[in-house]
């Protein structure tokens, strides 16, 4: 098994254990693991609605932001406070469901080949959701917001977008303007959500019948759980911003700010490298080996009358009904888009012409799979059933999901049991089951699908079940004894014993005993573990665990910004270096040589020298750099921005700067004794008018 295969396999085992636990409480229809994408969208709606309420009271200004959020949280705790908490916890829950959604598609191998579109369009959604959360924490303008703003700005400053340093806006209160909050509010309230809605639309565009809304019970349950969490652990601000004082530790929302602590030790380049590396890997994942390319469904117009059943059943919207092209007296014909077809063969199972009862005419349905045609399938069934003996013969159909067929064969095949492997259960037209039983090829039929109904091709379990129950076309004929058919959805940890149990149960049921031949009302069912009395407590436990998880990582574990006996110094200023050489006075003679419109007395180079800085404490150099001039022509000021943690206590600070081409000494410098209190933040600035340094303590 490849590394990828092993990774997916172990992921599936974890998922199935989780599913088994949740199934007990919710039942498989309401199992949240089957609605992860829809739940994410639902949480997004909760975030939107609670966000609108918050916006009504929010003031987009430096002084107003914190104050208005405090008002909402404490004065209006019964509504505004709850809305704030819901806003936070729903967005945290969305990250969990989103991550699980992505991991699930990965471990069940549902992202490759033609399925690349939904996978790839999901990645930009990540890049919208995370900044959405980050800008949200920013807007509150508490101490966490300050940390978020500063760190985000330091990250963004590394990108060659802004020539000035953005982080400098967040070092002292007198530089930060209200305008910045308007910008943030725009990004958080309009910009990102707009792209997100568009992105979600694109994400589900190629899917047939996407589930946008989770079942109502789940909606109500998760909302109730979040309201309970909101009252028991209300979302709170973490103290007003005081830029002269660094908080020792902060409660980080790890769902959104996971990479931020990396900035303490990593350079922004590494953080960006990590983020873009992960994104790139996700982007190319659908095309990484091992590649599996299969031939796509093919329409045979001679046998297609345009009934559109295949288009209804295709889980990927790969079949469209188009105007008839062959001049026959039909209105429509089925057309397969090869770039959308996942070769699941469900269309063959839905085609009314795919009946195996044909003695002379060829078994060629209106739509068929070249790799495993309906005719080949019939041959396989006839071949395999020949080897069966006894009067309780069972024919097991195994789907290709996760290479199960081979294992089924070695486990089950014997004198009375034989296995036929097909692509997906829904590939099997119900008339084939009629064929097997009425032609006495076997006494019972077992259909086995992917784990827990988590069909590799989305609807295999659903369509098969409905067809057997005669609720979806093509229906199983009423004359076929449904007691001789059993469905078994394998669970991976059980090592196929659950399927073996179903086969054994079917074999022992009187319905398949064709010698006894009596009509018996005996339903085949998997032995279920626990009674219904467990349902409610398990559901409540599941919600509670989810909420504990949501609430816990939204502030714990606390992130230690600085140690107890540490303080912080930031260097933050801009200064232009000298020109690379002095200006020259042109002589009259030289001027005459120039065209009249270009004559000027001084010949000055645009380019400037870099600015060199050295910063030390008690003689130990803490920062030394040569900062290049900004601007396309290297004619702008050099930016100096550096933040560092130093021990608290009295120390002699020294800053020196060279803006000329001198080799030794400094053009400007300042030495000063400072007594740092724990957590104190001092900003080193350069006053451009006085041409001197300042150690700004307040």
């Amino acid at each position: 098994m490849t590394f990828l295969g092993a990774l997916q396999k172990s992921g599936r085992v974890i998922f199935e254990l989780l599913r088994r636990f949740l199934d007990r409480g919710f039942g498989s229809d309401l199992n949240p693991l089957n609605h992860l994408g829809a739940l994410t969208i639902y949480f997004f709606w909760i975030v939107t609605i609670s966000g609108i309420w918050l916006f009504l009271f929010f003031k987009t200004s430096v002084s107003g932001a914190y104050e208005s959020v405090e008002y909402l949280t404490h004065e209006q705790w019964y509504l505004g406070g709850v809305m704030r908490s819901l806003h936070r916890y729903a967005s945290d829950a969305a990250v969990i469901t989103l991550a699980l959604h992505m991991i699930r598609e990965f471990v069940y191998d549902r992202y490759r080949g033609n399925r690349w579109f939904s996978w790839v369009t999901g990645i930009p959604l990540l890049w919208m959701v995370i900044p959405l959360g980050i800008t949200g924490y920013w807007l509150v303008w508490d101490q966490l917001a300050w940390y978020v703003a500063l760190t985000s700005a330091e990250l963004l400053d590394w990108l060659p977008i802004f020539s000035d340093s953005m982080a400098r806006n967040f070092l002292s209160a007198d530089v930060l303007s209200d305008r910045f909050f308007t910008l943030m509010a725009f990004v958080h309230l309009i910009g990102l959500p707009l792209f997100l809605v568009f992105g979600i639309w694109l994400h589900v565009l190629r899917i047939n019948g996407p589930r946008i809304n989770p079942p109502r019970t789940l909606m109500a349950g998760s909302l109730a759980a979040m309201i309970v969490l909101s009252f028991s652990l209300p979302a709170l601000s973490q103290g007003e911003v005081d830029m002269t004082q660094v908080p020792q530790s902060l409660g980080l929302d790890w769902y959104y700010l996971l990479v931020y602590p990396l900035m303490k030790t990593w350079s922004p380049a590494w953080v960006w490298g990590l983020l873009s590396g992960i994104s790139l890997l996700l982007f190319v994942a659908p095309w990484l080996p091992p590649q599996r390319t299969k031939s796509v469904a093919a329409v045979d117009l001679d046998n297609c009358n345009g009934c559109a059943r295949c288009a209804d059943d295709c889980p990927f919207g790969a079949i469209t009904m188009m105007e008839r092209s062959d001049g026959k007296a039909y209105e429509k014909e089925a057309v397969v888009d090869p770039s959308l077809c996942m070769s699941c063969a469900m269309c063959v199972g839905s085609c009314p012409t795919a009946t195996p009862f044909r003695r002379h005419s060829a078994l060629s349905p209106g739509i068929d799979m070249p790799d495993l045609s309906a005719a080949t399938l019939r041959e396989k069934i006839l071949e395999v059933s020949k080897g069966l003996a006894g009067n309780r013969r069972i024919l097991v159909f195994g789907c290709e999901g996760h290479n199960k067929a081979a294992k089924l064969k070695s486990r089950l095949n014997g004198r009375e049991t034989a296995t036929v492997d097909i692509v997906c259960m829904a590939q099997l037209p119900p008339s084939f089951i009629d064929f097997v039983l009425s032609r006495d090829l076997a006494d019972g039929v077992v259909l086995t699908g992917c784990p827990g109904g988590e069909c590799l091709y989305r609807f295999g379990e659903q369509w098969t079940g409905l067809r057997i129950e005669r609720q979806r076309d093509p229906r199983l004929r009423k004359r076929v004894d449904a007691d001789r058919i059993a469905l078994a959805w394998q669970e991976p940890w059980s090592g196929l014993s659950d399927i073996a149990a179903v086969v054994a149960a079917l074999r022992n049921s009187q319905a398949v005993d064709h010698i006894a031949g009596q009509e018996v009302d005996e339903k085949i069912s998997l032995p279920s573990g626990r009674g219904n009395s467990w349902k409610l407590p398990l559901t409540v436990t599941a919600y509670a665990l989810f909420m504990v998880f949501v609430g816990w990582l939204s502030i714990w574990p606390r992130y230690q910004l600085i140690e107890q006996n540490q303080a912080m110094v930031s260097l933050s200023f801009s200064h232009a270096g000298h020109r690379i050489r002095a200006c020259l006075k042109l002589t009259q003679e030289e001027l005459n040589k120039l065209p009249p419109n270009m004559r000027k007395a001084d010949d000055c180079p645009r380019e400037r020298l870099p600015v060199r800085i050295a910063f030390s404490s008690d003689g130990t150099t803490l920062y030394e750099a040569s900062r290049p001039p900004t601007g396309l022509w290297s004619d702008g000021e050099s930016n100096v921005y550096h933040r560092m943690v130093i021990p608290a206590g009295p120390q002699k600070l020294f800053i020196g700067m060279v803006d000329s081409d001198r080799e030794a000494g400094f053009d400007y410098s300042l030495e000063q004794e400072l007594d740092f209190l724990p957590g104190q933040h001092v900003v080193v600035e350069f006053d451009g008018i006085a041409q001197s340094f300042i150690f700004k303590e307040k």
Binding site: N303, N305, G306, C307, A308, R309, K328, A329, Y330, E331, C351, P352, T353, T355, F357, R358, R359, H360, S361, G366, S431, D434, S438, R470, D473, P474, R475, R477, K478, R479
Partner: protein, 133 residues
């Protein structure tokens, strides 16, 4: 000799459905003729099998048009279709087990299946769909 003749009243005004009705009548007449001519049971069986496939897809198409037109009695009509398909399948099995009695029963039932289908349900469908054309 023909068992069923196409009548203008059979027409639903949907070219594809009418076309298949005509083809089905042709197929039924063929089975009937081969039965009258005392043809080999295997030939009749294979004719029945083809009819089963053709009728299956024909019903699928007809049901599609009914649903598209919002036909009110869809469920009842659909049940009729399912019953008819069950009858054809039973006839196929019967013919395989006992061709002689199969021949007798088939002869009785063959014209009923389709004339009843046309006379009752499809006629009503005709009126309903007629409004749309």
């Amino acid at each position: 000799m023909t068992l069923i003749k196409w009548k203008p009243s059979f027409s639903l005004g949907i070219p594809s459905v009418d076309h298949e009705h005509r083809e089905l009548i042709g197929a039924i007449n063929t089975v009937y003729d081969s039965m009258v001519d005392n043809a080999d049971p295997e030939i009749i069986e294979s004719c029945l099998e083809d009819i089963y496939a053709d009728v299956s897809s024909h019903f699928a198409l007809e049901e599609r048009h009914m649903r598209d037109a919002g036909y009110g009695e869809y469920e009842a009509h659909k049940e009729q279709h399912e019953d008819l398909l069950d009858q054809i399948r039973s006839m196929m099995d019967l013919f395989e087990e006992d061709p002689e009695s199969g021949r007798v029963i088939l002869q009785q039932e063959l014209s009923d299946w389709f004339s009843i289908h046309f006379a009752t349900f499809d006629a009503r469908l005709h009126h309903k769909l007629g409004d749309h054309h």
